[in-house]
C-alpha cells in the first residue's frame, strides 16, 4: 500500500504518525520492562537453589510454608525450594489435555469444514465460539459441583482411597477432573484456528485429488490437512499457552496439594491430586508481603513466562519449513 503515495521519511513524519510511534514504544517498553522486572524479582530464588530449583527433594508445601514464615520473623530468609511436583503437574495436565484436544479438534474441524451438513455447520460454529468464550471460573464451578462429586463418589472405591490415605486424599479433586475440563477449555481454541486454516486450502487442489478417484475422506486428510499444517501448529501453540497459564480452573479442580502424581500407582494415578505452577502463584498471592515468598513466586512466574515465550518461538520455528506449502496460518 505504501507505493501509491510519495513517502516522506525521518523528520517529515506527521503528528499522528509520531503519536502512534510513541504508543507502540510504550507497549514494547512495557513488555521488556516486564521481563526484566520479573527476572530481577525472581533472581534470589534461582541463585540460592541453582538447578535444584527444578529438581525433586522434600515436600514442596512445607518448603513454601518455611519460605513464607522466614520472611516474617526477620531472621535469615530461607529459599530452599524444589519445584518438581509443581512442574510435573503442569506438564502432565497440559500435555495430556493438549494431546486429547488436538485429536478431537482435528476431527471436529475437518467435520465442520467438509463433512457436516449445512444445518449442523450452522450450529457448530457458534457453539465452538461460545465454548471458547465461557470464563474459566464457570468451567471450574461446573467441574467442582458436577464432575468432582461424580468421580469422588462413583469412580474411586473406598479401597483405593484407603490404599493411599496417609500420603494423599483421593476425593475426586485430581488429574482426571482437571484434564477433562482443561481439554474442553482448549479444544474450541484449536478448532477455531484449524477451521480457518482448512478453509484457506485452495479448492482446486482438493478437486485435483478427487478427480483421481480418491474418496473425499482420504482426499481431505491427505491434501487439506497436510496443507493446513502451519495452522495446526499455530492452533496447538495457542491452546498450549492457554493451558500452561490456566490457574483459576486448575486451582479449583486439581486438588491443591503439592504432590507429584506417580504413574507407577496404576489406575489410582488418574485420581491423584496435584497443583501446577500457575495455581501455586494464585494460592499464595496473599503472601506476597513476605520478601522471600515474593522472590519465589516471581521465580515461578518467570518459568511460566519463559515457557510461554519459548512456546511461541517453537511454533514460529516449526512453521518456517511449512511456508512453501502456501497456506498462511
Amino acid at each position: 500500500m505504501d507505493e501509491y503515495i510519495p513517502t516522506e521519511r525521518g523528520a517529515g513524519w506527521s503528528q499522528d504518525q509520531r503519536a502512534e510511534l510513541w504508543l507502540v514504544c510504550i507497549v514494547v517498553g512495557l513488555l521488556i520492562a516486564m521481563l526484566v522486572f520479573v527476572l530481577h524479582a525472581a533472581w534470589p530464588s534461582f541463585s540460592h537453589n541453582g538447578l535444584g530449583w527444578f529438581g525433586t527433594g522434600g515436600r514442596v508445601d512445607g518448603q513454601i510454608q518455611a519460605i513464607f514464615t522466614s520472611g516474617d520473623l526477620k531472621s535469615t530468609p530461607l529459599y530452599v525450594f524444589h519445584a518438581w511436583p509443581l512442574i510435573w503437574s503442569t506438564a502432565l495436565i497440559t500435555g495430556v489435555a493438549v494431546v486429547i484436544a488436538f485429536g478431537s479438534s482435528l476431527f471436529v474441524a475437518v467435520f465442520i469444514v467438509e463433512f457436516a451438513p449445512d444445518w449442523l455447520r450452522g450450529v457448530l460454529e457458534p457453539v465452538v465460539r461460545l465454548l471458547a468464550s465461557v470464563p474459566s471460573v464457570i468451567y471450574g464451578l461446573l467441574g467442582v459441583l458436577i464432575l468432582v462429586p461424580l468421580i469422588g463418589n462413583h469412580l474411586i472405591t473406598q479401597q483405593e482411597k484407603a490404599s493411599v490415605n496417609p500420603t494423599v486424599q483421593l476425593s475426586g479433586y485430581g488429574l482426571l477432573a482437571a484434564i477433562l475440563v482443561l481439554t474442553i477449555m482448549v479444544a474450541p481454541i484449536m478448532i477455531a484456528v484449524f477451521v480457518n486454516g482448512l478453509r484457506a486450502v485452495p479448492r482446486n487442489w482438493i478437486e485435483g485429488s478427487l478427480a483421481l478417484g480418491i474418496n473425499r475422506w482420504r482426499t481431505f486428510w491427505m491434501v487439506a490437512v497436510r496443507t493446513a499444517r502451519p495452522a495446526l501448529v499455530a492452533g496447538t501453540v495457542l491452546a498450549t499457552a492457554r493451558a500452561l497459564g490456566e490457574s483459576v480452573m486448575l486451582s479449583m479442580l486439581s486438588g491443591g496439594v503439592g504432590f507429584a502424581p506417580n504413574p507407577a500407582d496404576g489406575l489410582i494415578f488418574l485420581f491423584e491430586p496435584s497443583r501446577g505452577l500457575a495455581s501455586t502463584i494464585l494460592f499464595n498471592t496473599d503472601e506476597l508481603s513476605s520478601p522471600p515468598m515474593q522472590h519465589t513466586l516471581y521465580a515461578i512466574a518467570a518459568v511460566l513466562l519463559f515457557s510461554a515465550v519459548m512456546l511461541s518461538f517453537a511454533g514460529w520455528a516449526a512453521k518456517q519449513p511449512m511456508k512453501r506449502y502456501g497456506v498462511i496460518a
Binding site: 520479573v38 457448530l124 470464563p135 471460573v137 479449583m252 511460566l304
Partner: protein
C-alpha cells in the same frame, strides 16, 4: 544439475503463483453435484467419518448441557433482589446477600480496561497495517502483541502487583500506613487492558487488510492525505471489525479471574480508599462477578454454591449477549463486501 535447479525454481514459482494472488475460494459447498456417499469407502474411512460425526455432535451436546444446566440452576436461584443487595459475610443462603458490588465492579473494570485497550489497540493496528514504518519497530511490536496474547494472565497479575506497588504508581492504589498494597481498580483495569489488547489489534488489523487497495487509491486520487484516508475512509469501513475486537476483548476482560483475584483483592464489598467519591472507589479494592463465583464455589472461602450458580448464570448471559453482538458485527462485515 542446472536443469533440476531451474525445474525446482519453476515449481516453487508455480506454487506461489497459484496460491498467493487469488484469494482461495471457500471450501464446503460443491454446488452442482451431490457429494458421493460413504458406502463405497473403506471401513477405516467410514469409521473416521463416524468419529467426526460423533465428536461434532458431542460438542453440540456439551454446550447444550452447560447452557441448559446453568439456565435451570440460574432460574432456581436468581431472584431480582440479588441484583440490588450488597454481599455480606455469612454462613447461610439468606445471610450472604446479593451481588450488587461484584456487578458494579465488573462494570468498572470493563470500562477501565476497554478505555485503555480500544484506542491503544486500534492505533497499533492502524500503524501496523497502514504505515508499518520503521519496519524493524513494527516487527518488534507485532511480536510483542503476539507474546502478550500468549502470556499467562497470572504472570500479568504478578507483574501488575510489582509495578503498582512501586512508589511512583502508589498513589493509584490503597495505602495503609504508607504501605502500598498495589491493589485497586486502576491496577486491575490497567492489567486487564493488556489481556484485551491483542484481540483488538488482531481484529482491527484483519479488518483493515480486508479493505482492497483500490479504496485507498480512490481516496488518494481525490487528494486526501494518508492520515485523512485512514480517519475518514478506512476506519469507518473497518468499524465492524473494531466492534468484533472490542467485544471479544470485553469477553476476555469480564471472564478473567486471576488478575482480579491478585490485583483487586477480591473483597466482598467495594472498599473505598478515601478521598473524593469516585476516585476513592477506583483507588480502592472490590470484586467482580468472576471473583465472586470463585469465592462462593465449594473450594472458595464463602462456599455458597447457590449464590455461585446465580452469579455464574448472570455471567454466562453477559457472555452470550457479547457473542450475539460479535455475530451481528461479523454479519455486517460480510455484507460489506468489496468487489
Amino acid at each position: 544439475m542446472g536443469g533440476e535447479a531451474a525445474d525446482e525454481a519453476l515449481r516453487g514459482d508455480r506454487v506461489s503463483v497459484t496460491v498467493s494472488p487469488a484469494p482461495p475460494r471457500p471450501l464446503g459447498r460443491v454446488p452442482t453435484r451431490r457429494p458421493e456417499s460413504s458406502a463405497s469407502w473403506r471401513l477405516s474411512d467410514r469409521i473416521g467419518l463416524a468419529v467426526a460425526w460423533a465428536l461434532g455432535l458431542f460438542f453440540c451436546a456439551l454446550t447444550a448441557a452447560i447452557v441448559i444446566y446453568l439456565l435451570v440452576q440460574g432460574l432456581r436461584y436468581v431472584s431480582p433482589h440479588l441484583f440490588v443487595t450488597h454481599p455480606t459475610a455469612g454462613f447461610s443462603e439468606t445471610q450472604t446477600g446479593g451481588f450488587l458490588d461484584p456487578l458494579i465492579g465488573t462494570g468498572i473494570v470493563a470500562l477501565i480496561a476497554m478505555g485503555i485497550a480500544l484506542p491503544v489497540g486500534t492505533a497499533i493496528a492502524v500503524w501496523l497495517s497502514e504505515f508499518g514504518r520503521p519496519a524493524p519497530l513494527a516487527r518488534v511490536a507485532e511480536a510483542t502483541v503476539e507474546m502478550l496474547a500468549g502470556a499467562p494472565s497470572i504472570v500479568l497479575a504478578l507483574f501488575g502487583a510489582l509495578i503498582f506497588e512501586s512508589p511512583l504508581l502508589g498513589f493509584l492504589s490503597q495505602q495503609t500506613n504508607h504501605v502500598v498494597l498495589g491493589r485497586s481498580f486502576f491496577a486491575a483495569g490497567a492489567m486487564l487492558s493488556l489481556v484485551a489488547l491483542p484481540l483488538v489489534v488482531t481484529n482491527v488489523r484483519e479488518g483493515l487488510q480486508a479493505i482492497p487497495s483500490h479504496v485507498r487509491e480512490a481516496s488518494y486520487a481525490v487528494g486526501k492525505s494518508k492520515v485523512a484516508t485512514t480517519r475518514r475512509v478506512l476506519l469507518p469501513a473497518a468499524r465492524p471489525s473494531v466492534v468484533t475486537g472490542a467485544m471479544l476483548g470485553l469477553g476476555r476482560v469480564i471472564g478473567d479471574t486471576a488478575i482480579v483475584l491478585v490485583l483487586l483483592g477480591a473483597t466482598l464489598n467495594l472498599q473505598g480508599a478515601g478521598g473524593p467519591a469516585i476516585l476513592s472507589t477506583l483507588r480502592g479494592q472490590g470484586s467482580t462477578m468472576t471473583s465472586y463465583i470463585y469465592e462462593n464455589a465449594p473450594t472458595g472461602e464463602g462456599n455458597q454454591p447457590t449464590k455461585a450458580y446465580a452469579a455464574a448464570f448472570v455471567l454466562l448471559m453477559i457472555v452470550l449477549a457479547l457473542n450475539v453482538l460479535v455475530d451481528l458485527a461479523g454479519r455486517r462485515a460480510r455484507e460489506l463486501r468489496w468487489s
